[in-house]
Amino acid sequence: MGERVQFDEVKVGDEAPVKSHVLTRTDLVKYAGASGDFNPMHHDEVLATSAGQPSVFGHGMFSMGFLGTALTDWVGAGRVVRYGVRFSRQTWPGETLVTRVVVTGVREDAGSRLVDVDCSLANAQGEQKVIGTATLAV
């Protein structure tokens, strides 16, 4: 975490610090338990492969959650005003997931100091997993 970013120092085009993580099957099990999403495609390798998947795969909401952590690491907890994503690809154990958060707008609205960002999560080869936008109160 460290110090959270200050409004006066944010400019359009700035990027939040990158978070990177190698996805493991343990991550999937932990997220299943933490979220209550026990779809077996995320933890049962036997069932997933018999259904034609190469292996178990990550929860979309894990990807969104991990990307959300990149947002709050940067601006501080409780400062996300809006956060939306589209899920575009599955994530697989062994993939390195890398966050990208780019400032697209800096504005004041009814006394709130807001920063708009484009945000995405991709693997090391640049394949986009989730793509979204957020508004942060900085």
Binding site: F66, G68, T69, T72, D73, A77, G78, V81, F87
Partner: protein
């Protein structure tokens, strides 16, 4: 096949939840968030929070952890009608072997969610639409869950989910 738009606006039910400290810390761990504000009241206070905050996507899992039976509102008929309507749209598609996918998710915060809060969620079907592309048809259902602080009625967060079922079109 035209999609049934009559379900738009129907209720998908009400849930009352309590936000507890343990689940929030477990959830923060699971999304790789090590910020002490989710675990340590002193750290939360030092960062200006009146109670422990929650990670931004935690509302998606609030009902899993905190919708205890003894705090639920009385069942309303409207809600079961709404869930039935959702099944009416997606059920036949799934029965045909359609693939259910979570397409989009959004959270819109009006006020913070914190440990100790009791929230009432009211769900409704916000939209239903269909896209045909090549040999597949995608049927989308957008649901919207509005979580309000139970005591004050103040909106905390609106969670919007876009769920879709992809079915193969018959050859023409």
């Amino acid at each position: 096949m035209a999609v049934d738009k009559s379900v738009i606006g129907k209720s998908t039910g009400r849930r009352r939840v309590v936000v507890e400290r343990g689940p929030v810390a477990v959830f923060a761990d699971a999304v790789k968030d090590t910020d002490p504000v989710y675990r340590d009241a002193g750290a939360a206070a030092a960062a200006g929070h009146t109670a422990l905050p929650v990670p931004p996507t935690f509302p998606f899992s609030m009902a899993h952890w905190g919708a205890f039976a003894d705090i639920q509102p009385d069942e309303d008929d409207d809600a079961s009608a709404g869930m039935g309507a959702m099944g009416q749209v997606l059920g036949p598609l799934l029965a045909k072997g359609g693939l259910l996918l979570h397409g989009e998710q959004e959270f819109e915060y009006s006020s913070p969610v914190r440990v100790g809060d009791v929230l009432m969620g009211e769900g409704r079907i916000a939209d239903v639409y269909e896209k045909v592309s090549g040999n597949a048809t995608m049927t989308f259902v957008v649901t919207e869950m509005t979580w309000k602080h139970d005591e004050t009625g103040e909106t905390a967060v609106i969670a919007r989910s876009n769920t879709l079922v992809r079915t193969s079109n018959p050859p023409t």
